[in-house]
C-alpha cells in the first residue's frame, strides 16, 4: 500500500524504551528539510535512530520513497546497512583510522564498488565540499568546520535517498558556526531527497528548515513553517526558544483572562474560548511610576526578580500578574535605577499582543494523523 506521503519519508510510529515513549506522525517530502526542534531527552535522536534503522519501532511503521523500512505489525525491518540513508552524526563519528578520502569512499566501497570506483565516486564529493586539500588528512587533523564537511560528504557519497542530520552545528565554536551554517544550507538545497534535521538550537532550525516540528517528551507539540512557529509558539518551551512571553487564557471578545492570573485587553476580533497570547519582550514599556492613562490599554505592576545583560540590552525578569520578560536599554536601567526588587509598572499596547487559538498546532496542509494509536 502506498502511503499518502508518496515518495518522501513517512513516519507513523511509536518507540518505547523503558518508561520513555516517542510517538510521532510526520512526513517529509523530497527536497524538503524537516527540522525537529526539542529539548534534550525529547526523543529527537531516537527518531533519527529509528529512521536510520539503528532502532526498530515498537509499533507503527516507517516508509521511505514508497518502500516499507520498518513495520512492527507486519514484522518487516530493513537493517541500517540496507537503507538508502545518509546520517551526519552529532560528533560526526569520522573513522579515526582512515583518511578523509577513505572516510568519504567508505560508503561506496561498503555498498559494493571496487577500490578504484569507490575512490572516484568519493572524489566527486570531496571536490564538491572543498576537501581536495584535506583528502590525505586524518580526522584528528581537521578543524570542526572541516570535519563537518567531511561528515556531510561521507553521508552524501552513499547516494542516500534520505539525509539525517543530528545537531549538525553543535560541535562547532561560535566563530565558524555561521559560515558552516550558510554552506550547509546550500548543500541541503542541492539535496533532492527528504532531509530530517534534529536540533535544540532554534536559530539553526529557523535558518535551515523549510518545515518544523517541535518535540517535547516524545510527542509533537507543534508543527508548521519556521515563521509560523516563531510568531505563534504553542508551548512555553518554544516561546522561550524564540524569546517571546507566552500566556494561556480564556478570550471573551476584547478581554483575555489569563490562566495564571491577570488579564489583557486585546483588539476585539470576536475571539472566544481558549487562546494563547504572545508578546515580544521589547514591546513592553517599563516605568517606575504608575503611567498616565494613555492609548496603551494594558498596565500592571510588577517586581523585578532579575536582570540579565544581553548583547545590547538588558532583559528584566518580572514577577507580577502576569509575570513577564521585558527588554530595556542599559541607559534606561541606569536612569530609572532599576534593580532586583524594584517595583515597576508595565505597559503594553493591545495591538502588540499576538492572540491565537490553542489548537493551531497542526496547520492546514500538513499530514493528518493516519494512525489512531499515535493520535488517539
Amino acid at each position: 500500500m502506498r502511503h499518502e506521503g508518496e515518495d518522501g519519508l513517512v513516519v507513523d510510529a511509536e518507540i518505547r524504551r523503558g518508561s520513555f515513549s516517542l510517538a510521532v506522525s510526520l512526513a517529509a517530502a523530497p527536497g524538503q528539510v524537516l527540522g525537529v526542534l526539542g529539548p534534550n531527552g525529547a526523543g529527537k535522536s531516537t527518531l533519527l535512530s529509528a529512521a536510520a534503522g539503528l532502532t526498530p519501532v515498537s509499533a507503527g511503521r516507517i516508509m521511505l520513497a514508497g518502500q516499507v523500512m520498518d513495520d512492527a505489525d507486519a514484522g518487516t525491518f530493513v537493517e541500517a546497512s540496507g537503507r538508502p540513508v545518509g546520517f551526519v552524526f552529532q560528533n560526526y563519528r569520522l573513522f579515526p583510522h582512515l583518511t578523509v578520502a577513505e572516510n568519504v569512499a567508505f560508503s561506496p566501497r561498503a555498498r559494493g564498488l571496487g577500490r578504484r570506483a569507490a575512490r572516484s565516486a568519493a572524489s566527486h564529493w570531496i571536490d564538491r565540499l572543498r576537501l581536495t586539500d584535506l583528502a590525505d588528512r586524518k580526522p584528528d587533523q581537521l578543524s570542526g568546520g572541516q570535519a563537518q564537511r567531511v561528515a556531510l560528504a561521507r553521508a552524501l557519497a552513499g547516494q542516500p535517498t534520505l539525509l539525517l542530520l543530528d545537531e549538525p552545528l553543535s560541535a562547532l565554536d561560535a566563530g565558524t558556526r555561521l559560515d558552516v551554517q550558510a554552506e550547509l544550507k546550500r548543500h541541503l538545497a542541492d539535496f533532492t531527497g527528504p532531509c530530517l534535521l534534529v536540533t535544540h538550537d532554534p536559530l539553526e532550525a529557523l535558518v535551515l528548515a523549510d518545515q518544523l516540528i517541535v518535540l517535547e517528551d516524545g510527542r509533537i507539540v507543534q508543527e508548521g513553517t519556521p515563521a509560523h512557529i516563531a510568531r505563534r509558539p504553542a508551548t512555553d518551551y518554544v516561546a522561550k526558544l524564540v524569546g517571546l512571553n507566552l500566556y494561556a487564557g480564556h478570550a471573551d471578545g476584547s478581554q483575555v483572562a489569563l490562566t495564571g492570573g491577570g488579564a489583557f485587553v486585546i483588539p476585539d476580533q470576536g475571539q472566544h474560548g481558549e487562546v494563547l497570547v504572545a508578546v515580544r519582550p521589547s514591546a513592553l514599556v517599563v516605568s517606575n511610576q504608575r503611567p498616565q492613562p494613555s492609548s496603551a490599554r494594558n498596565t500592571w505592576p510588577a517586581k523585578i526578580a532579575g536582570l540579565t545583560l544581553l548583547a545590547d540590552r538588558v532583559r528584566l525578569d518580572l514577577d507580577g500578574q502576569p509575570p513577564a520578560l521585558a527588554d530595556v536599554t542599559p541607559a534606561a536601567v541606569a536612569e530609572l535605577s532599576l534593580d532586583a526588587g524594584s517595583q515597576v509598572w508595565l505597559t503594553v499596547k493591545a495591538t502588540e499582543l499576538e492572540v491565537y487559538n490553542h489548537d493551531h498546532i497542526r496547520p492546514e496542509g500538513s499530514p493528518s494523523c493516519s494512525w489512531r494509536r499515535v493520535c488517539g
Binding site: 536510520a52 537493517e79 541500517a80 546520517f87 552524526f89 561498503a110 553521508a155
Partner: protein, 286 residues
C-alpha cells in the same frame, strides 16, 4: 593542642618543581621506604646475578656447545605459530564474548580465562587426557587419521596456545567492550554489513590492543614450560623449547644454562621495550 611541624628545608629544585606543577611533598614516608627497597632488590638482584655470573668470555661457545640453537629456533617458531593461531581463532572468540549474548556466556568467559590462573602443568595433564592416543579426542584422531599429537612440535604449539591465547582474548575483549560503538553504527548507516564493520572499523579501532595482546601472547608462549613438558615432552629438536633446554642444561652445563637464560632475557627485554613504546604508553594493556 595543635602540633606544629617545624619548618623544613626545601631545595631549590624541589621548590621549582612544586611551584611549576603544584602538589604537596613527594618524599616517601619511612614505613613505606624499607619494604619498597626490599621488593625492588628482590626483583632486580637475581637478574643482576645472571648478568654477573654470565660466562661473557665464552658465551658463543657455551651456546653452540648445547642444543641451544635448535631450542631457540623451535621456541621462536612455535611461539609465532601460537600467536598466529590465537589471532585467527582467539579474536573471533573475543568478539563473541564481548558483543553477542547467549545462554552460558558468563560461564564460557570464565572457562576461557581459566588457563590464566591454572597451573600450566595441569593444562598439560588436561591436554594429555584429551589428545593422547587413548584420550577422548586423540583416540579418534589416531584411529581415523593416524594422527598422534603428544610429543610432537604440534603438541608444543597446542600447549602454548592453551596457556597463551587467553592473554590475547581478554586483552582484545576488554578493548572491544570499551570501544566506541558509535563508529560501528556510523559504518552500518554507510551500508557496511556486520562483517564489513568488523573488518574495516572494529578491528582497526582495537588494533593497539590487538598488538599488545599478540605480544603478550607471544611472550607467554615463548616462556611456556609446564604444559609443554607435560604434553609434549622434551625431545631435542622436536619439543625441547628454550625454557626446557635451560632447565636441563642447569644440571649438566650451568654455563650453557646461564647463556640460554641470557638469550631469553634479551628477547623479553626487547618485547617489553617494544610494548612500552608502542602500546603501553600511559595506558593499560587490558
Amino acid at each position: 593542642m595543635v602540633t606544629r611541624t617545624a619548618p623544613s628545608h626545601l631545595t631549590a629544585r624541589e621548590r621549582a618543581r612544586r611551584t611549576a606543577r603544584g602538589g604537596a611533598s613527594r618524599s616517601v614516608p619511612a614505613p613505606l621506604l624499607a619494604p619498597a627497597l626490599i621488593a625492588a632488590a628482590f626483583l632486580v638482584l637475581p637478574l643482576a646475578g645472571l648478568l654477573i655470573r654470565a660466562p661473557w668470555g665464552h658465551l658463543v661457545a657455551a651456546l653452540s656447545g648445547s642444543d641451544a640453537t635448535q631450542a631457540l629456533v623451535l621456541s621462536l617458531w612455535t611461539a609465532t605459530v601460537t600467536t598466529g593461531v590465537s589471532l585467527v581463532i582467539g579474536v573471533p572468540l573475543a568478539w563473541v564474548l564481548a558483543r553477542s549474548s547467549f545462554p552460558g556466556q558468563r560461564l564460557l568467559r570464565a572457562l576461557v580465562t581459566l588457563p590464566l590462573v591454572l597451573p600450566p602443568v595441569v593444562g598439560g595433564v588436561a591436554l594429555l587426557l584429551a589428545f593422547s592416543r587413548v584420550g577422548f579426542v586423540g583416540r579418534y584422531l589416531d584411529d581415523w587419521f593416524g594422527l598422534t599429537i603428544p610429543f610432537t612440535p604440534l603438541a608444543v604449539v597446542m600447549a602454548e596456545t592453551f596457556v597463551a591465547m587467553p592473554f590475547l582474548i581478554i586483552t582484545v575483549e576488554g578493548a572491544l567492550r570499551s570501544a566506541d560503538r558509535g563508529f560501528e553504527e556510523a559504518a552500518a548507516t554507510l551500508g557496511a554489513t556486520r562483517m564489513t564493520v568488523f573488518r574495516r572499523v572494529t578491528v582497526p579501532l582495537v588494533a593497539p590492543s590487538l598488538g599488545a595482546g599478540a605480544v603478550l601472547c607471544w611472550a607467554r608462549a615463548l616462556g611456556e614450560f609446564g604444559a609443554t613438558i607435560t604434553f609434549a615432552g622434551s625431545f631435542p629438536g622436536q619439543t625441547e623449547t628454550m625454557p626446557i633446554a635451560v632447565y636441563y642444561a642447569l644440571e649438566n652445563d650451568p654455563n650453557a644454562a646461564i647463556a640460554l637464560s641470557l638469550v631469553l632475557l634479551l628477547v623479553s627485554v626487547v618485547v617489553l621495550v617494544s610494548l612500552r613504546d608502542r602500546w603501553l604508553r600511559g595506558g593499560s594493556i587490558l
